[in-house]
Point group: D2
Chain length 365, copies 4
């Protein structure tokens, strides 16, 4: 289904080459200041027009807020946002009809929906769908900021194998990384990654990457035992992004190789409250927030569509064939998907803060 | 909340040192053959009594099926299973009152529920809660087997840093690994891991591990775009287990370092249907099953409770203190948690097969 | 929240005097033929322009389908429909600011959302919101017709106290009643009711009514024990319409005054299957369908807004005051609300038919 | 499915003649004082042993609270309650196998679940299932009382056609009515109804009735626009009780026959806040609470099982036959069902008060 969340819930709609995509955000508390500019700013973060191989089309998003906001404040009613599609060029998709691209959602959609799949631009499985999530994320971020004072950001720790070289960054470092061509905290990594992207594009190939989502300190109590743990709902939300193949909290897989005496974050008294001395665990215990920043890493697979010949099956004839993708493609979807992961994080945090009773239904009376 | 699932839904209840734990399985199709023996067999898989450091208490589970089964077949009504708690020794928990164990859920529970937290044995945050999931998983496995013919298994690929050395195992190899002391496909790894567990216990420390859950071929169409992708719901279900800190599908984080041309599974025609030649992606495209086995890895952190002095805060006095855990503990929770991960996988697969219309409400008329 | 349904789910959005209202229909099976004309036809049924006191404004609805339909067939993805608002005259609402109209949702909204309530035209509590439900109902009706072959209709049995005089009508009689000025099966009642509406409007007053929703034979098995009974979900869906104050299935309150021997529908063999001889119960037993038509009645309260002076409290000053509504109003909302009740019925039936496994995810391959 | 509620959620299980029935109450706030006595008191209200024709068996309920309560206070974890079945005499059900009783859920269950239906005592469709709801209702009532200070009660306004003769009763009158043989506010009605019950039993017949559920003043803001209106969720919860065939809020169907000028409750200033002068609407506007008591009426159909010959179909042979019910039956299920309706009301109110943010997750720190 196309909806997620319990008290703060979004539903997205729209196909890549259809009339529009969009989102309805339900359960928004009343009295939160939200502007079109908030939405536009987040949508712009996924454009990366300065690196053309990441976004060959590079168009402005034209969107419209249809409901739920009066005089600059949320009304407590659903906010519907439509993002119009434009100038979609579907021609080169004609020859891909019934020929699923390897590693792409195409195959799953053909097997599930048959000839009703709108394969143009990947239809509903397109990364474009995440623009609707990001618009909703802008609302979620406004709610978080104006209620529990939490900020969410993200950065790339690795792109196509080019890694950042430092481990000692702060939340502010990460926020500032967005002023660079790529959101990496380390200038050398940025340069290496940009070069790699251009080189890879020249070769008609693609790369994946690893991102990290971080928050400022999250008040204790978010997350519900036992199934709706915050880590469980964050993981679900982030894994619902097409390109995500792995999620780890804190040191993640590295924790699995440590002993308890190495892994355990000692609990100390700081500022009059219990704190984790090291926060190796990523800010969640028992799946719930404990007043620490939350931190998790996300693995993005390389873009499936490449300009090299690939083997597939023509499902209309049930015979093997070869395809070469000729449409516009992003040499890596990791940067855009990272923005989507950040948006999903904000959405889940609002939902859980509401469930924990930390966000009132009306923010200012 | 303590429930998960849409059409096939479980709710668990119970505290570690309370009267009982248990589960209600709702949405079970009618006409599935289920016996007490099915439940007992799965519960036994998590006992590991032959490796005492993994289960110092080693007791039989006494359980009772209260409803939903008539003459050996499910009725289509909720199946309630109670697992009685017995001989819980809560004494050594008295001195831990208000002193959260580092890396344990204790801190989160104290911060969220205050003095109402039943900290004895970890209360509801105890790994014991997963026994209820495993009982439900036994029902789910019977449903899968008798409807869409899917089997689920799992194994450890790494325990305390001791890894298996082969990569070319089959589903059957994995199933057979459960006849060994530890479910690892590689005898040398088993020996190394058992030795390590004993040594670690001697030192009063603990270790984590990495498991892998696998299925036989899953029919296409499980998983709902865009938020209820099968990978998203599997990740949520598995991350809802306390000790899990990472999940990756197929090659996971390794995919993030590959190029598209290396990562993409070519689509080939085998047995008259499209197949993934390599299944590096773990059996899901667009988050949906495509007729391939599903495969994902899970990182388990080391057991928080260790016999070494650890720093914490006495929340009743808000002052720093040191604790040494004196109760019984499992030197690694990874093996038990792996069985729980397998159970959660079966539960999610039934739910999604029902949502996809692949399991009728009445299995045999 | 603004969403309803489990597998077939709608979310509505929009305020009466905002940019637009609309709906996203999620969980639609693929392969159902749906056209704009289907939606327009249902939207027109609630216009009643030929009786101006029922719809003083009488405008065409301008709507747009944004997603989910390709080449005339549903894709299995969310269908978003936007209905644009136009020429809303909000002037006369200025003097009603903070002065809730008696019997209107105004008071509840002011108490819950304070100054963030968009009171113009009743904002989101307006009957206009039901247009979005009716658009979704058009989709639901297409699904029902093309899968389980069920039709849904409705009629008024009473308007402002003017009742139909017959009890022996068929489903076809009810369908044909929609060709009359008011959907009543009895010409005399139509005339009496129209006269009454005009007279009541002259007096600046309003009237309520009682409608009945009927279906053709519904296949057995819709409805889930014990809480998601079909009658429970139908009642919820219909009571979610603002003006509804009562619902009764079959003979309803009259059954409560009968003895078992009078009330019980004898079970007889007709056409090779068990049938209810009399269907006094309205087609549901144990809250589930049994192969009979479903029938229930709905009580609509009179329109709250009238042209007579009414007492209220100015919430900005917390003092008593008197208001006279000067805006356009419908002398009875019952006819429009009846169309909404019919739409909600279709929506619930699709959801339950999907839950019962009677509607595949792809209707035609 | 057998669960209901969003934040405060119950799941019931168990068949009438199985091992046990029971309930898991999930989402209970921590810190609420709850005792076994609270549960027993509510269970006793549905016994009516002093009127043997209402409960021929008249046994004490043996129940056990398995989890969620520590030292007399809720822990914030699921409360599981098991009510053991005993001495069930299933013999006379043998001859009813595959012969559905007219007006009973039997037919629906046979059509949906076939031979897997446990028809003994009505299996899961038995009124006995409501005992589990009533146990959960006891928890809900404790929560309401200790948080928002709301009480819920109910009474019969009509039984078998014998009506109460007054209209001017208070909440206290209704509470006191439970000290009488039947919960009717009017002694003459009690006498008439008891006589009627005995006479009807002699004749082997049954009667229905009409009940009313009332609350003390409910704080404003319960109920979510637009689908989860409080009236919608109350109606669903009450209609989920097998015997319910009608629900009306306030004056209900009588409102449908009034003009706006007669029906509208004028809004007046009392005690410094806006109040409804007459509360004809039953305490809800726009489906939300406005600080008034809530009031709705419920129609219960007569008990289907009677000692008169009734026609049915033997589904195993598909031929018509006649049955006479020989088991124990309640001459009217209305009194017991009324207690269940009251319990469901309390459950829905807690859920909505939590959703509205009026009940914290921890009641006392």
């Amino acid at each position: 289904m196309s909806s997620i969340g319990v008290l703060f819930r979004i539903v997205t709609f729209g196909e890549s080459h259809g009339v529009a995509i969009g989102v309805v955000v339900d359960g928004v508390p009343a009295g939160v200041a939200v502007s079109e500019e908030d939405v536009r700013r987040e949508l712009n973060r996924r454009r990366f027009c300065h690196i053309p191989v990441l976004n060959p089309r590079c168009e402005d998003e034209e969107f419209q807020i249809l409901s739920g906001i009066k005089d600059g404040f949320t009304e407590g009613t659903p906010i519907a946002i439509v993002i119009w599609n434009k100038r979609a060029i579907s021609d080169y998709y004609q020859e891909l009809w019934m020929k699923p691209r390897p590693n792409h959602a195409d195959l799953a959609w053909y097997l599930k929906f048959g000839r009703f799949y709108d394969h143009r631009g990947g239809g509903r499985s397109s990364g474009r769908e995440t623009a609707a999530r990001i618009a909703a994320g802008a609302i979620a971020k406004a709610v978080l900021r104006q209620t529990i004072g939490v900020e969410v950001s993200s950065h790339l720790v690795e792109l196509g194998g080019v890694s950042i070289s430092r481990d000692d960054y702060t939340f502010e470092d990460v926020v500032k990384a967005w002023e660079k061509p790529l959101p990496m905290i380390d200038d050398e990594a940025v340069k290496g990654a940009v070069d790699l992207l251009i080189k890879t594009a020249t070769e008609g190939d693609s790369v994946g990457g690893i991102g990290e989502v971080l928050t400022t300190e999250v008040p204790p109590g978010l997350g519900e035992p036992v199934f709706d743990k915050l880590k469980a709902d964050l993981a679900k939300a982030v894994f619902s992004i097409g390109t995500v193949v792995g999620v780890e909290f804190g040191l993640g897989f590295r924790l699995a190789r440590m002993r308890g005496s190495e892994a355990n974050d000692q609990i100390v008294l700081r500022g009059g409250r219990p704190r984790l001395e090291t926060n190796r665990v990523g800010g969640l215990l028992g799946g719930m927030s404990v007043g620490e920043p939350i931190r998790f890493r996300v693995a993005f697979k390389p873009t499936p569509s490449i300009r090299k010949p690939q083997r597939t099956v023509d499902l209309s004839k049930m015979e093997e064939t070869t395809i070469v993708f000729k449409g516009r493609y992003d040499v890596s979807t990791a940067p855009k998907a990272l923005v989507a992961a950040e948006a999903m994080t904000a959405i889940v945090l609002v939902d859980h803060a509401m469930r924990a009773g930390l966000i009132p239904r009306v923010v200012k009376k």
